[in-house]
Symmetry: C2
Subunit: 235 residues, 2 copies
Amino acid sequence: MNAKERRTARHRPAPAEETRPRRRRDPITVDQVVETALGIIATEGYDALTMRRLSAALDTGPASLYAHVVNKADLDELLIGRLCARLTLPDPDPATWRDQLRGVCEALRDQYLQYPGISRAALAMAPTDLEALRVSEGMLAILLAAGIAPQRAAWTIDALLLYVAAHCLELSVAHRRAEDGDEVWPADRTDLLHRLTTLPAAAFPHTTRHAAELTAGTPHDRFDFTVRLMINGLA
Amino acid sequence: MNAKERRTARHRPAPAEETRPRRRRDPITVDQVVETALGIIATEGYDALTMRRLSAALDTGPASLYAHVVNKADLDELLIGRLCARLTLPDPDPATWRDQLRGVCEALRDQYLQYPGISRAALAMAPTDLEALRVSEGMLAILLAAGIAPQRAAWTIDALLLYVAAHCLELSVAHRRAEDGDEVWPADRTDLLHRLTTLPAAAFPHTTRHAAELTAGTPHDRFDFTVRLMINGLA
DNA sequence: AACTTGACACGAACGCTGTTCGTTTCTAGA
DNA sequence: TCTAGAAACGAACAGCGTTCGTGTCAAGTT
């Protein structure tokens, strides 16, 4: 079976798993590729995940990967699919639907944050991946059980998933830039606070006055705030 | 003056403009670089904006660009800065603050959409760029005039700006993938609808049942919905 | 008027990327 | 035992961002 056939098969309802013949002493499997890739991302970040780096970690050359994966984009999809597969979706409970929905978002966020920068792959992914669809199906179940209109539910889910990915991407970018010693990037919160307060007060009256609020809060605080904002807007 | 000095100068309050001596018949200026880059993005997309492609459009070699720009990241920042500079910010009016805020978001979205994929640069940008700060200052003014607490206002602005960028990024990715004839990517709305309805109903009961709602709405409808969702959540 | 200075332009190269071609290797089924 | 064919892989290609060393030419100084 071709690797490209495998990809299209992943987007069909029933991807039949099957044991294949093996050649090597430790023949490479797609699972191995995905797991190794996640390991690289976890320790070195998504930018370090190149086909060469990955193939080296698997003790082979770049060309060998293309027997298991169509593209880097395809690999990205596999990675996100693996992350989505890890999420446990709650049984919809109309009494606690807000907390349930927030819980799913936070679980997804935690998965993303565990693999810095991987959310970039999520943002570029096809909307028909089965594991990703499983997550949105679960979120849809929660919202419908809560009595939200299907149209509003669908759009809210998209908005939430988009925000989660974007939020994690922003965090990973900030983290990478900060530790690379970028001059332009503020080193820490006090640095950013200082830059905002020293802006010309004439052109930036509110920014300078409320610099404290602008720089306040942990990333989790901001995430929690925004998710609540969107969920509250539903009612 | 070095290009790196110029960059740090752009992050300081008062970037003094100055006429410089010229060498070439048509010496390259930063303005020229930025405008040419925007032209390339507008017609060929952000992915086509490489240092080589840009330098070729300016009738020179890649190395020449680095006299005016520190990095590609620096160029990205200039591009987003230019876009932000084009936005006209309204005088805060407590009576229509929701519409005003939505208007700013839509104007920013339209700028992003005019240059497909450029929002990727926005997501990776330093939060201290002067033109970008001008925009958030304007949004902050609207929210504060409306009586929103500074802390909530600040976080809401970040959430909105993040969503606008992410939304446009998602649109550009979808557009590029669709016109590249990607097999995995749904060609159009009916294609996506068909894929969702043919999912196994046992595992995806809600997705299959409400596939129509899931695929309904223009991108602008979804954008409008989400922005309203966040703004309404404020009250 | 000749000279020094230094910013800008630029050709060539480096190390890296994703991807492909052609070949070799080795197992599963006939 | 033999063969078909999938997997593995070495080598290469075109392209990327970036840097180095050098060339060039106008402005300011002597």
